[in-house]
Amino acid sequence: MDGVRSHIMVCGGTGCISAGAEDIIDALKAELDKVEYDQEVNVIRTGCFGFCGQGPVVKIHPDNVFYVKVKKEDAAEIVNEHIVKGRPVSRLLYTDPESNKKLDKHHQMSFYQKQYRIALRNCGLINPDDVYEYIAFRGYEALATVLQEQTPLQVIEVIKKAGLRGRGGGGFPTGLKWELTLKSPGAEKYIICNADEGDPGAFMDRSILEGDPHSVIEAMAIGAYATGSNKGIVYIRAEYPLAIKRLQTAIGQARELGFLGKDIFNSGFCFDIEVKLGAGAFVCGEETALIQSVEGSRGEPVRKPPFPSESGYLGKPTTVNNVETFANIPPIILKGADWFSGIGTENSKGTKVFALAGNVKNVGLVEVPMGTTLREIIFDIGGGIVGNKGFKAVQTGGPSGGVITSADLDTPIDYESLKNIGSMMGSGGMIVMDDETCMVNIAKFYLGFTQDESCGKCTPCRIGTKRMYEILDNITKGKGTEEDLAHLEELAPMIKDAALCGLGQTAPNPVLSTLEYFRNEYEDHVLHKYCTAGECKALAKYSIDPEKCIGCTLCAKACPVHCIQGAVKQIHVIDPAKCISCGVCARACKFDAVIKP
């Protein structure tokens, strides 16, 4: 049908709907009917524009004009002016707060600069199994440039100047890491890509390998050239079969086109990549443990120094970088160090990919410049909390990180600022928790994880995390004492100081940060045997179903601790903080109105 010439797209996100988007749709349709344009112009509802603060928003397609804070009274003007006469309604355009100018194209708005994709630039845009599509988006151009025009030291200089830091968690400057390997004596050197994404709740590395495997291959070749290595290894989780398959296909194509192999781009430089599978051990994300695993042994960390840059795989100088770190390399080479260092904060340059998950509406991968606030990520991009619940905390850094409360939501995030508020960047897992999440249970979850994943080599981690877990388990079961809290606080610094590797050293973080910000919840569990969030089953209390309660007062009379409030013919309520879960009320009730825990 040729008749449809334009579409009026109205945001159907929760925010806009509650601000009256449905009425606007009806009004627009009615106005179109009036001018008899209803066959030519379609009014449709779209998903959230992620611009809820300016809602309801309306976009005219194909003119790509974007109206904000539209009311149903504006429908007539939009139709008569814009649709009929082709003149945009300037009073409804968005005013940029910085320049004070009216903007009509939504991608010009500073709001949409909030998400800027460098590492994920090709994900979802190219067919990962087609190397020519990668080439179409300037693929392998960075490698060719480096090999034809730069010395290894020059490459390192660019990366150092760009200020790229490791995206796997530690945040070590990548250029410096490369330089250390280059300067280590020895002819045989290795470069390893750490794709053992073990942080539960982070999946950006998988997405990059599944969506854009060539960018990692190209970056590894650049890194190998810069560090003087001829052999690369990708260490990848066996749990990622699709990523493994796509990576292997990509490696095959790269070999065919001469991006891997001998004498790449006639430069005399030789490099090839081998894929090695992990087998499910979180600790293998730690670089020394990873090297042990690549060598075919148990993945137990070893003491540093010597650092892998001096003595790593097979005792040779080795560079280990994470997938996301590598994905940043080709754009830095192509666009220059200044471009990259122009993004982000003073000490953390570029962007970071976060896996936004948990009780948040728009679960997904987001890539934002360093310095973006948590509020922007969770509420603007993530759309806020699911259901009509409140925000309680957000957890970053996985089992090594901590919780962040609403008090710190406006902190611009980078490596240092997150550390200052008791968490860490980690690999980029960002779990949003609503007010029905029990913080003691969350701490127990993470300790259960580290305790399970502890390799057992050093005592502080093996036994320390076990003891901490036991204490937390007792607390959630109502067997905790005040002394237990003191024990947790005593054990935590011991483990932090004495454990051998990063896994153990950071294991107490989830406990320490929940203790700091949610001590009242620990105290409720310990002193009142009460779990506010209602998650700890052993502490669950009786409650009354308001639908069934007729207000006979029998339960209130029977309650030995007088924790049931309510007068005759009124709905009764149990105070969970006082309830001792004896069950007398349930037996007393003749209407089956008492809900058992």
Partner: protein
């Protein structure tokens, strides 16, 4: 055949670009419609394979020409998988979310053939890229 120089690479890039220009700008040298399906693990888990099959099946049933289906990686919209992006020459690309088999067939019937957008299924691109 190995590519041996930057110049050679750029030549190959220029011919490869014709195929993908459509995706960002809607500009295209060939009158080819392109349907991109997000086929990362999460997309597949949410049913992207069935979506892809339905698209191919419907294209055949309607005997459409100059249309191709491409699998791509993750777009980051995990909340609305499976995702299909429709690229039509001369038009801004359109992203649809929660595309099950039924919606996939609707995309062909409504968007491609009738040039009407699908109600309640459009996702908005919310990022810029390097």
């Amino acid at each position: 055949m190995p590519i041996k120089s930057l110049d050679e690479l750029i030549k190959i890039r220029e011919s490869a670009m014709k195929k993908v220009n459509l995706r960002e700008s809607g500009e295209d040298a060939e009158p080819m419609i392109e349907l991109m399906v997000g086929m990362a693990t999460c997309g597949i888990a949410a049913g992207a394979r069935a979506t892809l099959t339905a698209l191919l099946d419907e294209i055949e049933a309607q005997s459409l020409e100059n249309i191709r289906v491409v699998q791509v990686g993750c777009l980051g919209y995990c909340h609305s998988e499976p995702i299909v992006q429709v690229n039509m020459p001369g038009e801004e690309p359109m992203i649809y979310g929660n595309v099950d088999e039924k919606r996939a067939r609707e995309i062909i019937q409504k968007h491609i053939i009738e040039k009407k957008f699908l109600d309640s299924a459009i996702l908005n691109k919310t990022y810029n890229k390097a």
